[in-house]
């Protein structure tokens, strides 16, 4: 059994480990750096307050992402307006520099450019598609975990993910090495 102080140490470790993922999800939802930081911080505060109620064996990662989504939805309801669209250009603060220590400078540059292009492509997707791409492809959550976070059926998650991937592929085909089936078909 985890005693309260151990739970809090554990939560501190988990929050640190998932800070990139939570921030990424917050960016995908809000499309705004300042708001994303606020969302993550409020998520942490709520998680810290609620840690005593967390049952042993619970999926902490999924729990944190659910809290973040609820915080965002509450803010959205409170604001009673659509989220503000903010231009997302490159920023050294958010650009990942610690991709892989083993990569050479050219590989790092290519990786950074690719990441920028992928971010742009993902941000062009609808909110539903953005969420599902990030939760599945970047956070490795299972279909059921995503279904729990989004409050829908696992089947819905899978069909939505399939459509989101198709759309993303289509967007990336213009800038990256991903071939687009539709364009290829049109050429033929």
């Amino acid at each position: 059994m985890i005693v309260p102080s151990e739970k809090n140490h554990f939560l501190g470790h988990v929050l640190h480990e998932f800070s990139d993922g939570l921030y990424g999800y917050a960016m995908i939802l809000s499309r705004d750096r300042t708001e994303a930081e606020d969302l993550v911080q409020e998520t942490c505060v709520r998680a810290i307050q609620a840690i005593d109620g967390l049952r042993p064996g619970s999926n902490v990662k999924s729990w944190l992402f659910t809290i973040l989504r609820n915080v965002w939805l509450n803010r959205l309801r409170g604001r009673r307006s659509a989220p503000k669209m903010v231009e997302l250009d490159g920023d050294e603060n958010t650009a990942q520099t610690a991709v892989a220590a083993t990569k050479d400078p050219h590989a790092l540059y290519v990786s950074k450019v690719e990441r920028e292009l992928i971010r742009e492509a993902i941000q062009q997707l609808s909110r539903e598609f953005r969420e599902i791409i990030v939760l599945r492809e970047y956070e490795d959550l299972s279909y059921q975990e995503i279904a729990n976070i989004l409050g829908c059926a696992a089947g819905t998650v899978m069909s939505r993910l399939g459509r989101a991937r198709s759309k993303l592929r289509s967007l990336l085909s213009r800038s990256l090495r991903i071939p687009d089936r539709r364009e290829k078909g049109a050429r033929e």
């Binding site: 929050l15 990336l172 991903i178």
Partner: protein, 173 residues
């Protein structure tokens, strides 16, 4: 929505090795007939590996990480302090407060006087209580006797029969 659009789910499950039995057979049969879905299936790993290579999509700013770590550490410390406090029983906590050698809560002379009063109290208080109880008993008995002499207290039983008197006494036990 055509038949191939419905295969999005099938392709994902197939790649996750989550298709079994008849569903797997049906999907394989569809793939054999459908070049579009075969292409889709082949394209998936390329997209997945590209996304994988660009992890994480965003990195939390250092200032945010620091705030998170500080908030968690502060909470852990607060819970730890509360836990230590709760684990001490009240007498232990009181004694520790009274006898803390580095920072005694009370001066030694006052502490000695309090101890002496406590000891004397423990010795004399039981005796005093006993004397009070004896006095009360004598006063109560005298009061009842006076009531009897003045005729205020009627006899509860009047009889010459030993059985009647015995029955009355038994009722008193």
């Amino acid at each position: 929505m055509n038949r191939c659009d419905e295969q999005h789910t099938g392709i994902l499950l197939y790649l996750d090795n989550a298709l079994t039995g008849q569903k797997l057979e049906d999907f394989r049969a569809h793939l054999a007939d459908c070049s579009d879905c075969r292409e889709r299936l082949q394209e998936q790993p390329a997209l997945s590996s590209l996304l994988w290579e660009t992890r994480p999509l965003y990195s939390a700013p250092e200032a945010l990480r620091a705030r998170i770590t500080a908030a968690a550490a502060e909470r852990a410390a607060a819970v730890s302090r509360a836990s230590i406090r709760n684990h001490k029983t009240r007498p232990q906590y009181l004694m520790r407060w009274l006898l803390d050698l580095r920072h005694p809560a009370l001066p030694w002379k006052l502490l000695a006087a309090m101890t002496l009063v406590l000891v004397l109290g423990l010795v004399f208080i039981p005796d005093a209580i006993q004397r009070v109880r004896a006095t009360d008993y004598v006063e109560a008995a005298t009061q009842i006797h006076r009531s009897y002499l003045s005729g205020v207290l009627p006899l509860q039983c009047r009889s010459r029969s030993p059985e009647v008197i015995t029955a009355w006494l038994v009722g008193k036990w």
